[in-house]
């Protein structure tokens, strides 16, 4: 790049016509042009209007972020691209299911930490727990790290869902 600028993380909310292939277009654009995807979520939001919302967390220099936005805007089924990060810190949540196996001290410690992080137990035997946790991605990341020495088995994360604060629509 021209000037080595700071790498920033941005959360983009992309409203698209819910038609076949639209996710492939968005994802293909990122891989084809060498942009990063740190997190991606997609689902239909308004069935009547055939609208889906794709939330992408991406990183790049401010210039790359601008490029990503205008390249996304160029896709025919994309209705709007909103950079939630520039509109003030957006509300962001993620959900994760985390499996931890172990006995004795580790097990007690895991449960204690889960409590501190407001994770709930949704499945358990005497040898394992499955925790459900929601929150900001870094909080989930932190929790997962703490589980590693305690017998972390596997993790499923949803990716980030994000929306702007206040009463207006984006």
């Amino acid at each position: 790049m021209l000037h080595s600028q700071n790498i920033e993380s941005h959360t983009l909310s992309v409203l698209v016509d819910n038609e076949p292939g639209v996710l492939a277009r968005v994802v293909g654009l990122f891989s084809g042009r060498g942009y990063n995807i740190d997190s991606l979520t997609v689902s239909e939001t308004e069935h009547q209007k055939h609208l889906s919302r794709i939330t992408v967390v991406t990183t790049g220099t401010p210039r790359i972020i601008e490029q990503i936005k205008s390249q996304l805007g160029r896709l025919i089924p994309v209705r709007s691209v909103i950079d939630l990060t520039v509109m003030g810190p957006p509300l962001e949540r993620e959900l994760a299911l985390i499996k931890v196996a172990g006995r004795g001290e580790n097990r007690v410690e895991a449960l204690r930490l889960a409590d501190a992080f407001r994770a709930t137990v949704i499945d358990a035997t005497v040898e394992h727990f499955v925790f459900e946790i929601t929150g900001r991605s870094n909080k989930i990341g932190q929790f997962i790290e703490l589980m590693v020495p305690l017998g972390l088995v596997e993790v499923a994360r949803t990716g980030v869902a994000s929306i702007m604060r206040g009463k207006e629509a984006t």
């Binding site: 021209l2 016509d17 076949p20 292939g21 492939a24 277009r25 293909g28 084809g32 210039r63 601008e66 490029q67 205008s70 390249q71 805007g73 160029r74 025919i76 089924p77 209705r79």
Partner: protein, 584 residues
Amino acid sequence: MAQEMTGAQIVIKALVDQGVEVIFGYPGGAVLPIYDALFQQNKLRHILVRHEQGAVHAAEGYARSTGKPGVVLVTSGPGATNAVTGLTDALLDSIPIICITGQVPAHLIGSDAFQEADVVGITRPCTKHNYLIKDPDKLAKAMHEAFYVATNGRPGPVVIDIPKNVQFATAKYSAPDNSGHKTYRPQKKGDQQAIRQAVELISKAKRPLLYTGGGIINSGPVASKLLRQFVKITGIPITSTLMGLGAYPASGKEWLGMLGMHGTYEANNAMHDCDVMINIGARFDDRITGRIDAFSPDSKKIHIDIDPSSINKNIIVDIPIIGDCAFVLEEMIRIWKAKSAKIDETALSKWNGQIDEWRASECLSYVQGKDIIMPQYAIERLYELTKDKDTYISTEVGQHQMWAAQHYHFEEPNRWMTSGGLGTMGYGLPAAVGIQLAHPKSLVIDIAGEASVMMNIQEISTAIQYRLPIKVFILNNRYMGMIRQWQELLHGGRYSESYSEALPDFVKLAEAFGGVGIRTEKPDELDDAIKEMISVDRPVIFDCLVEKNENCFPMIPSGAAHNEMLMGPDDVEGSVSEKGKVLV
């Protein structure tokens, strides 16, 4: 009342209703219903090419020389994959193309059926948009929408993939309406305030320069007219990219010739030294900018483009204006006149004086001896002998393409068809087929290299079949000249695989196809041979044997700046940096 008809009939009806007269195609199992419907009508003319890549290039030639979209019809699997190079070419050069591909019946999709390919998957990154139509009731609307998408905003290729069962099914046809697309509405009018700022900046310039591109051609003849008017009222010197040649007449006194890697000394130096750059419909491509961090360091930059993603992509600009250049130019002219704006006369004449000094280098000069035809001379004679005729030029890719751009001079838009963005060898011959179809009475010449022309030589057969008297003018240097030139500059003269070995006898080849072959190797025979070529009312392959080792100059080597041009062989030694070597 909506009429019921088959999917195949809907395709034909939609094309006719969209004003299409000619389509380029090749049949196959998955498009037979459409071919059957074609057979039973007489409004649409089908041109049978010899390879699907040729179909797309022919449609591009047709589109670029008429301003109308070009239409292609190919079968599933290999038919569609053969079209991919053409589609990518059209995407990079922003040419409106509608490409209809047959697909295996919907219930077989995903089963690796015979001649199945994931066409929407394969063509997603090489089209502006694409459709797979599984519901016959959506076919008519998608056809009309495809035309809207291909021709509005920045033009480009659109693929419509139609499973065979949909072609057989019956459905309601709906005529084109003005609905366009439910959300896609490209911005055509530029922002008023930005336009005013631009006019203000230009009027205060001391060393202004217009840098124009293919966007002017795409916008239509009105944009070229307005551009001419703008130059007339402002007196600003002008250069253009390869794709924009003809928008401003080469005979105009403000014309600096083409810019970029093989652009003129005056154009590139003016780019480097200007204080206000007005980019209209060009995209700061790497062939143009040279080394980015040394690109026109002291200028304020205005960028007019219909595609927002072109803004600040390669070069940061000061005043971006998103809109169709015809709209924006019209506004700029109106405001310029209303303000009675004027560029400082002394400054402008000083700037022109500087430009004249650069011009005096005569960077395109060459020495023509008695024995061997120089490639530049061949183009120059071709130009002199055809300039007063109604002539269209296409090219292949290589040195001959650059010499054509340098030595053939264009006065009007839509007269020059070349593969700029993708640099596709094999473009020119099929493009000439498409151009000749659109302009049956005109003189259509493909300026070719002996290597490139072999890539789609089969399309001569198409020209014969439809009595299209295209002229293929080969600058035969027995080398992939452009490759040889780079190997000379960058790889110690090790000419790895760049010699044109085992060439056919092009005269006999022309005759074998049913055309006329001409060969010349003497400078003093060239004029008569060209005249003979022009007078023949049939397809001609002209084998013009030229100097083998000539290189194309001036040249900005990869990784160098505009003011670091190589003017000739003496400048070459050690000219390319290690960093430059990895660039293409």
